[in-house]
Assembly symmetry: C2
Homo-oligomer: 457 residues x 2
Amino acid sequence: MGPEEFRQRGYQAVDWLAGYMERLGELPVKSSAEPGDIRAMLPAEAPEHGEDFADVLGDLDRVILPGITHWQAPGFFAYFPANASGPSALADLVSSGLGAQGMLWDTGPAVTELEQHMLDWLAAALGLPEKFRGNGVIQDSASSGTLCAVLAARHRAGGVDALPNMVAYTSEQAHSSVAKGLRVAGIPAERVRFIATTPAYAMRADHLAYEIVQDRNNGLIPFFVAATVGTTSTTALDPVAEVGWAATNFDAWLHVDAAFAGAAALCPEMRFLNAGLESADSYVFNPHKWMLANFDCSALYVADRASLNEALSITPEYLRNPASDSGAVVDYRDWQVPLGRRFRALKLWFVLRHYGLEGLRAHIRRHIAWAAELAGWVEADDRFELAAPTVVSLVCFNHVGGNDATRRVLEAVNQSGRAYLTPTTIDGRLILRVAIGSPQTERHHIEQLWNIIQSAA
Amino acid sequence: MGPEEFRQRGYQAVDWLAGYMERLGELPVKSSAEPGDIRAMLPAEAPEHGEDFADVLGDLDRVILPGITHWQAPGFFAYFPANASGPSALADLVSSGLGAQGMLWDTGPAVTELEQHMLDWLAAALGLPEKFRGNGVIQDSASSGTLCAVLAARHRAGGVDALPNMVAYTSEQAHSSVAKGLRVAGIPAERVRFIATTPAYAMRADHLAYEIVQDRNNGLIPFFVAATVGTTSTTALDPVAEVGWAATNFDAWLHVDAAFAGAAALCPEMRFLNAGLESADSYVFNPHKWMLANFDCSALYVADRASLNEALSITPEYLRNPASDSGAVVDYRDWQVPLGRRFRALKLWFVLRHYGLEGLRAHIRRHIAWAAELAGWVEADDRFELAAPTVVSLVCFNHVGGNDATRRVLEAVNQSGRAYLTPTTIDGRLILRVAIGSPQTERHHIEQLWNIIQSAA
């Protein structure tokens, strides 16, 4: 496809997306497709001859949209948000068109340097500790960032030879990616301690310290502790300072997972989210969740890049080059598991410049305000009770009539097509989660959701 | 950014990219930026207020392009190609705009089903063994696919409890991602055997069998063998059938890495590349290298999905849903390390439909033909000698005058700005690699390259 045809097809694709954005509020939020529905509309084999691009675009409406749950819809309150935005999508387009590779500084100096610079912009904007400056990298997801932290910690604690004695710690409420990263790195489930939580679902630092001491006394090596700032079920905040004290006192690596909530620290009044980060060895948060940078864009920071790089660096002849050999540059392949890497810093650059920090803060503040308002409505209604503190923009509550009553409300919301919630269950209690964070959401969408909930109750 | 502004900015971004494509042939292929050059052009802090989008686009020319090595340039013959294309870039744009998540079937049925379908289209188009149908998944890179294969193999061989006895095998010419994946999975370097190669740099299957038997006799567990179809240095072909015999006879998992060369099997006359795949447990190739689908798009196939899924599956409450519980659907989060995933199948769909299989075959065939022609020119010139067989579209040669003479040719090519080569070194011998694979490259670019090489010699 030459430049002129690309221009024409590109306008058509942009028009299709603009039209999609216009319709987003009217589409049912969750797809009602049944297993196999989408495949049934596709030919059994790839076409032998090229087809008209207009037909391909047309099939987005015919084949794809019926199978799409609209994560960008104003009524999407499920999981956590995964913000898309115009400037970010266009940065992805430019990245794809350039087709540049960032595995080494030498394979595309701007890819590496813009990434370093954007992560420093972010660290400053979030008020992260100074030690993280110059030590940031974009990963595809917090899962991968956490895996890298585990690998760096494993290296620092003696490498794979010490693996059979290594023990890791996280809370019962930690994201499944912590257990998955540990499993990938070769830590069996029986050497992962899931520390009990407080009634607010925060890790009990006293329990953590006790477990670490026990394990040390048994000749094991406590090597890794993952604390969470904003857990997936309820955005609970682990006491990072206390957890960090226990971890660093016993030479364990402290990783902090703030995948969703971390973005809120752009607002100075939310900087309590950073409490205790001084003791963290690594920190991950996802601009692709609540900061208008399209998936995939997760930011990982490490205090000690040497452990990370030594854990991940292998240099065959065909990747050697003078810039790398000089030590004057950063080669991001040594900061991640894959070798190849897209030019993802472009979307942070486009987003930060298009919205400015004040624009991003406004985006986040309105969600926090609406969540507080919704939490107030829940509290004022006898039929519901809050199931956890509302820390940022996730509101957790249940029907006082028990799980069946809560489930009926959930089903009424999701069957309305106007909103979509995914629940969680803690200690057998079914909990509704309203995760507010879409740029399309307006206050009246929260009111509409609350009306549906009240009618169902 | 609302739909109307997106339409306007989107046209501007498309125009910028179309203009870039038009200029691509005139730009010096390799960036001449020095470390720090790009960062020096960027403000120290993120802007407080939003900026004009036109300024952001303008800075692509001012700040970014001087730091870009043009992987899509017609004179880019370095590494392996990483094809971008119009339909693929526009699919990436649509994917970003939709902002859909494919971690579960339930989070976006079309994301999962189109991916399953595209990988089946590909398996048929490549003539892969029947066992891989229904068992494909898109990874970000062959590195990640290989890691997943290692994790599945580790699980099948007894899981992490058996880790201290596991041994893995690959050739001296295997890609560094094999060693990296093994290291991540907890296999120390001393239990990775790098098998010697033939004079054509293919793995010696007899040596492999010998090493496996030795290790078994010593009470170790040979659990993983990685064969390569098209090595990075010279596109050497390991004898997969013989390697597979040794691996499967001793219950080791056979992984086949055809990251670059695999795409050529779209052409029936190149199906010899698939020889022996019947014995493979997993197979990876990168549509993002030579098949016009933008990075990241690597295709991993497994014969036994249960081992892969069991190795990678963890299901917390907040990810449970009726579709997954029914077992009627595939949840791709259990096929990869990260949880979240983009809608990457769109680019395969756009590319396969825009070009058709005959268009993709034509794309590949011309590169193979030009490589054969260039190899002929090298053979006919007394000053040069071929350093390895030309199997697909990579031509490897050196100056008969030794490494210094070869290095002078390399420097002349790269300083010309008209072409860019990255060399390799095998057994102390510096080898020029001409990797032909850009859709922008025409035959006259190969002639131009050869003229530069001849002048320098």
